[in-house]
Structure formats: C-alpha cells, structure tokens
C-alpha cells in the first residue's frame, strides 16, 4: 500500500516516479527505524528523538489502518482493492483544504506524513534530483556561471515555458 500511495503522490510521467526511485523501501526503512522527516518538535536529546520517532511510527501505522477502515465503510473494500477513482477521491479529501471533512483528521495526518516521506524519499535519490535538474549533481565547475541575461535586471523578458493555466486554477 505504501508503494501504491507513494506512486500516486509522485507518479511516473515524463520522468520516473516514486516506484522506480525505490521510495517505498526508503519509507519502510525510515518508519521501521522510527526516523521522522517532518514535525516541529525540538530534539534536544536521544530520548526526545526516540519519543518523536515512536510517535511518528505509531501515527503512520494508525493512518494505514484508518485508510483501510475508511475505504471499507465508504466503498466496501480495503484501500488497495478500491478502484483508482475511489482511491483518488479519498486522497483528494485528505490533500485539499477545500475538501477537508471533520472526520478525517487521522487520515489527513497520515497523508501529510506520507507525502513528506514520499517527497523526501524521491528527491534524495539520483532519479529524483535528475527530474528537477539539480545542478549540484555536477561537482566540478570551471567557474560559477551566474545569470546569463544581466542586461535585463528585472528579468521581465522571462516567459514561463508552456501554459500557466494549471497554476492559475490551483491558486484560485
């Protein structure tokens, strides 16, 4: 299920997705070793770290159970047995503020953790970094290139490649 949800969050499209980047294995490792990648608690000692890790692990496992229970009551199947549309509609309820419902706090917390783990797991792999074009993958540069159009200091000439419609819709 972790692998499936990770791929829903970062799917394969013009670049590889979470599955190809081995994100599920990463999440299994991090959850099993109780290493959270988010959360605001101050860690001042190993005890704090253990405490925080235990809490994250418990919430994550609770979240998986909640997802399945929710799917059973809504759709009559466990999460993985639901149709892609059903899975998608549940994730949307957990992902978008406009679709939040009062009974989904546990699921929202699970989705937040799951997304954090997936994004971290994906963009700390070589394929993830390559999908962004992370320049630091190259470790020797003859000089720092800097801006290639300093004659337009406001950079007003820059036009975003492709359509901006998707962005405007998601913003409104």
């Amino acid at each position: 299920m972790v692998e499936h949800v990770a791929e829903m969050i970062i799917p394969e499209d013009d670049t590889p997705g979470a599955k190809q980047a081995g994100v599920a294995e990463f999440i299994d490792f991090m959850v099993a070793n109780r290493v959270p990648v988010s959360g605001s608690r101050d860690v001042r000692s190993t005890e704090d770290a253990i405490e925080m890790g235990k809490e994250a692990q418990a919430n994550f496992l609770l979240g998986i159970d909640w997802m399945n229970a929710r799917c059973l009551s809504e759709f009559g199947h466990s999460f993985l047995e639901c149709t892609p549309e059903q899975q998608n509609s549940l994730l949307e309820e957990l992902a978008y503020k406009a679709k939040f419902r009062p009974t989904t706090e546990v699921g929202r917390e699970f989705f937040r953790m799951m997304r954090d783990y997936t994004v971290v797991g994906y963009y700390t792999t070589k394929v993830g970094m390559e999908s962004l074009g992370y320049p630091g993958l190259r470790t020797v540069w003859p000089k720092m290139p800097g801006c290639s159009h300093p004659d337009d200091p406001e950079h007003a000439h820059l036009r975003e490649p492709g359509s901006t419609m998707a962005f405007q819709r998601s913003k409104s």
Partner: protein, 565 residues
C-alpha cells in the same frame, strides 16, 4: 618524564589559534598547540562530493547516534550524517543553561575547529563599530580604531583570499579583494526591488577563492563548503595555518587534550596549562613562557574561570570581575521567505554551487543619524535562494500526482529567503559563569550560560520583518511567511565579549593587544576579546586581531619582556 619547556603554548587550533601558531612557529618559537579533539582529516571527515542518496538515512541521521553521550543535542548544518562517526563535534562535555536561558552551544573539537566549516563572510569592522559609543552614547568605544586595525585587515584578507568589490559604504570599509562571484538571476531581481526601497544589495565579502591564491586551488563549486572543503579553496586552519605551522618543524601538536586550566607560578603569572588526555583520562601539565588562549570565545572564559589559585580566586586575570561578562551574540532568524514569480518554470540554474553568501544587504540603518530608528546601531541581511539541494518548497503546494510533481519543478528556481544578522548590545544579564554544582565527565566544572535577547536587537528583528514585506512587494515576489521567533541564542556561532579588551584594567580583561592586564604573559586570540558584536561576522577579524597580537608578542620577545625557553 618532565615535559620540555616551550616558548609558547597555544590552546585551540581554529581561526585564531591556528593563525597564532603559524605566526609564532614561523618566527622560530617552539610552540606547543593543544587541541581538544582529534585530528581533522578532510579525506575521511568531509562530505567529499557525496549526495544524500549515499547516506543510509539520506541526511536525517541515526536517531540513536548520540545515545549515552553527556551532551546529546544534535548540531545542525556543520555536523551532519556526512560527518557521522568521525568524533569532530563535542558531545562528551556538557554545559548548563541558567533558568530562562536557552543557549545553543555548538562545539567542533577537531583540529581547525568551526573554521573548517564556516560561512566565509568576511567584512571589515569600521569606526562606525569601533567608535559606536561616540555616536550613540551607549557603552564604550573599542580601545582600537580603524586606522590602527586596517593594515591587519589587509594582511588577513591577503592571506585568506576574500572575493568582493569596492563599494564605498560607510558601514563596511572596503578591503583588498579577489574577483567577486557572479550574480545569479535571483540576485538581479532582488537588487532591483531593494533599490526601490532604499536598501543596498551588494556582493558579500566572501573568503572563497574565485581564483587560485597563494598556492591554494581556485574553487571548483561542488557546493559542499559547509561540510568542509576537500581541496582548501577557502580559508580553513586545516588547509592553511596548521600545515604551514607544521612545515616549520617548530610545532608540537597535542590532540584529544582538553585543557582544564592555566597554571600559575609563585607570582601569579602563567607558567603552563593542565589538560586531561581524553584517551587515558589522566591529567597532564605542559609549560611555556607565554600562553595563548584561543579555545573559541566562551571556552576561553571557561578555562580562565576554572583557573583559580591563591592569586586569582575568581579565575585567572579576573581582577576586573569582567571575565565571562559581556556575552554578545548575533540574533539570527528568518524575517521573510517566499518566491519570485518571474522565475516560475525556468530551467534549473546552478544557484548554490558556491554554497555561499554571494550577496548581502550591509547595514543601512542609523547611518545618517545614529538615532534615526527605534533601535541604535544596525543589522545586516543575507539573502539566498534558487535551485537548492532539496525542493523544500514542496510543502507550500497542495495536492499530489503528476500535477503536484510538475508544480514542484515549476517552483524549483523561485524560492528566496532572508537571514538577519543583528548585533546584541552588551547587557549585564548576559554572561557565563561556572556552574556551582555540575561537573563534566572529566571532573571539570561546567560552564553555565545566562542569556536573553534585549529590546534593541528585538526591535531590529521586528524592523527586518517589515523590510521583508516591503522588499517582496517591491521586487514582485510573493511571501510565504516569516519565522515567528528568532533562532536560539548561540545559533550564529559568532559569540563575543567574555574577555573584553579595553584601556582600563578595572573594566576590561585584556589590553588592546589582547594581553591580559593582570597576567602579561597570557594572550587571547579569539573573539572573546571583542567588546561588542557588530553587524559583521567574526572570523576574518579574529584572524586579523590574532596576527596583530602575535606581532606584538614577538616584539615583546625581542625586547626581552618575554624570555625564550
């Protein structure tokens, strides 16, 4: 077997101590340098072009790695999973915070200290700093002025290699510079906005070798600087001062030797130091004609406060009672972050391959009139952003799926954020002393911090948040937010003041040569002598003042004030 007598002992091998031992060794003195931790080895201890995927925990680290240590708080930035298992950072020796104090004391005990991992910003202090009391009436001037220090800043800059430009600003005097780093797209956009609101946006003074310098290689821009440079393309003791001192054959370098106190003779003058050998846990004494303390500011005060004797019941050279007082730090925090819509969807650009403060906003407040703002003196801001190692902006975007993934990439070149560097004014509430009860695992009484941010620096913090709101508007940016609170004190690693220099022995610990008023064969070569913190960073000035102090000390050897061993 009795240890041999040295001409000088230097405690600490960081920016100040490393400089001192190099100069003294090159002058022919027999020097014993004492370092608290092990030898730093770039071949094993640094990042060495590794990426997050080379690490087991992808940079998050084993949560149990500090289990059983006396000080288990992990240190951010310099200490990371890349340095795990290398014992460069201090977790065996604990310290205390007084009630209400939340000091974050990061300590690097490997040779070279924190100066192996420093941020490289290297501006000169000016008379606006040295003579601030004349301008606004608060506190005291430094015992030195710009005319006196300026040649030493030049020496330090020529030695270290600092990249910048001539800027003719009243708050930060110009120096001798290597070619500056080129600006990134985001710099041009921010600069235009800053200009509209009357804020300077200029190349930082960055001690990073944009060209080969004094036999050191030019930077190859791998971006790993804050985890240590593999080839020595910025000033660090490991690549500069320590090998040069060793080449003279006049250096004896002791490692894993934690100094607990300065030893005194029958007249109360320094005659050596006592240290605990971390491996054997035995106490050892070493003797010299002159002692130089450069243990990293508050640790220097810790050693001195723990050096109690019949002559110095409250710590060596503390007849003024000023030892440990006057602790000042830079208030750090993020007064604003957001993104530049101009850069949405642009191809990834190598914005952070220099891993440095390419630019800064040098102090612009209270320049025409020292009291034009609600606070006195002033602060500086560093801005950064662009395509980083990890798309930290992912949390700002809602959703999941292909569209979400595209949005992460679309925003990738756009994030920008600010870091304020605001000087805290000296306050009687801010000091270190010895914890009356707690001792560390070696039986050494612990250092205790008393510290709170004062109203002046908190006013600067509020001011900077408004500046960021104005700046984002002026540069056409969108703000995501600002830190609710400044960082914990200690975060900047720029603490100063606990052994302040001054002309009056009744109100200061050292004279203007950083020589203890009470104990003339005891010198200090770190930031503890700076009476105030400015809006600039401390490393280059530490090197410059250490050079000057050592020059004075060598004169004293020549004149016979100090005898050779």
């Amino acid at each position: 077997m009795p240890m041999k007598m040295f001409d000088a002992i230097v405690v600490g091998t960081g920016a100040g101590g490393g400089t001192a031992m190099k100069i003294l060794c090159e002058a022919g003195l027999q020097v014993c340098a004492i370092n608290s931790g092990p030898r730093t080895n770039p071949a094993t201890d640094y990042r060495r072009h590794r990426q997050a995927y080379d690490l087991k925990y992808r940079g998050y680290g084993d949560p149990l790695r500090l289990k059983g240590k006396a000080h288990q708080e992990p240190y951010s930035v310099e200490e990371s999973e890349y340095s795990e298992g290398r014992d460069l950072f201090e977790h065996d020796v604990a310290y205390s915070n007084a009630p209400g104090t939340d000091w974050y004391w990061k300590r690097c005990k490997g040779t070279g200290g924190k100066a192996n991992f420093w941020g490289r910003s290297s501006a000169r202090f000016g008379d606006i700093d040295f003579k601030a009391a004349d301008l606004d009436g608060f506190g005291e001037n430094w015992p030195v002025d710009y005319a006196e220090i300026s040649p030493w800043f030049s020496k330090a800059e020529r030695y270290m290699g600092v990249a910048s430009t001539i800027q003719n600003r009243p708050s930060n005097p110009d120096g001798e510079y290597l070619p500056p780093m080129p600006w990134r797209c985001l710099d041009y956009i921010i600069q235009k906005g800053a200009e509209k609101i009357g804020v300077p946006y200029l190349p930082d003074r960055c001690a990073q070798l944009t060209v080969a310098h004094n036999g050191h290689l030019a930077c190859h821009y791998c971006g790993n600087c804050s985890r240590g440079c593999d080839v020595g393309s910025f000033f660090s003791p490991t690549w500069f001062t320590i090998p040069e001192a060793e080449a003279t054959k006049n250096l004896t370098l002791l490692t894993n030797a934690l100094v607990r106190g300065v030893l005194v003779d029958e007249n109360g003058m320094a005659k050596g130091v006592a240290y605990v050998d971390r491996t054997t846990r035995k106490e050892v004494e070493v003797y010299a004609k002159v002692i130089v303390l450069a243990a990293s500011c508050v640790e220097t005060a810790h050693i001195m406060l723990n050096s109690k004797s019949r002559h110095w019941p409250s710590g060596i050279a503390n007849s003024s009672g000023q030892l440990g007082r006057n602790l000042c730090d830079h208030l750090y925090g993020g007064p604003g972050y957001g993104y530049l819509p101009q850069l949405l969807g642009q191809p990834a650009t190598p914005d952070n391959i220099a891993d440095s403060t390419v630019t800064w906003m040098p102090r612009w407040q209270n320049l025409k009139n020292p009291r034009e703002e609600k606070f006195i003196r002033g602060y500086s801001i560093y801005m950064g952003g662009g395509c980083g190692e990890f798309p930290g902006h992912y949390g700002q975007i809602e959703g999941f799926g292909s569209k979400y993934k595209r949005e992460i990439k679309r925003y990738y070149p756009t994030p920008v954020g600010a870091l304020i560097q605001a000087p805290a004014l000296p306050s009687p509430n801010n000091y270190v002393d010895i914890d009356p009860e707690k001792k560390d695992i070696f039986g050494i009484p612990q250092l205790r911090f008393h510290y709170e941010w004062g109203p002046n620096e908190l006013q600067m913090w509020e001011h900077s948040k408004q500046v960021m709101i104005d700046l984002f508007k002026a540069m056409g940016g969108e703000m995501w937010g600002a830190d609710a609170e400044p960082n914990r004190p200690g975060t900047s690693l720029h603490e100063v003041g606990v052994c302040k220099m001054g002309s009056n022995p009744k109100t200061s610990v050292t004279n203007k040569w950083a020589q203890a008023h009470d104990v003339p064969n005891l010198y200090i070569c770190d930031a503890s002598i700076f009476p105030t913190i400015t809006d600039k960073t401390t490393t280059m000035p530490i090197v410059a003042f250490a050079m000057r102090t050592c020059d004075h000390m060598l004169e004293n050897f020549k004149k016979g004030v100090h005898k050779r061993a």
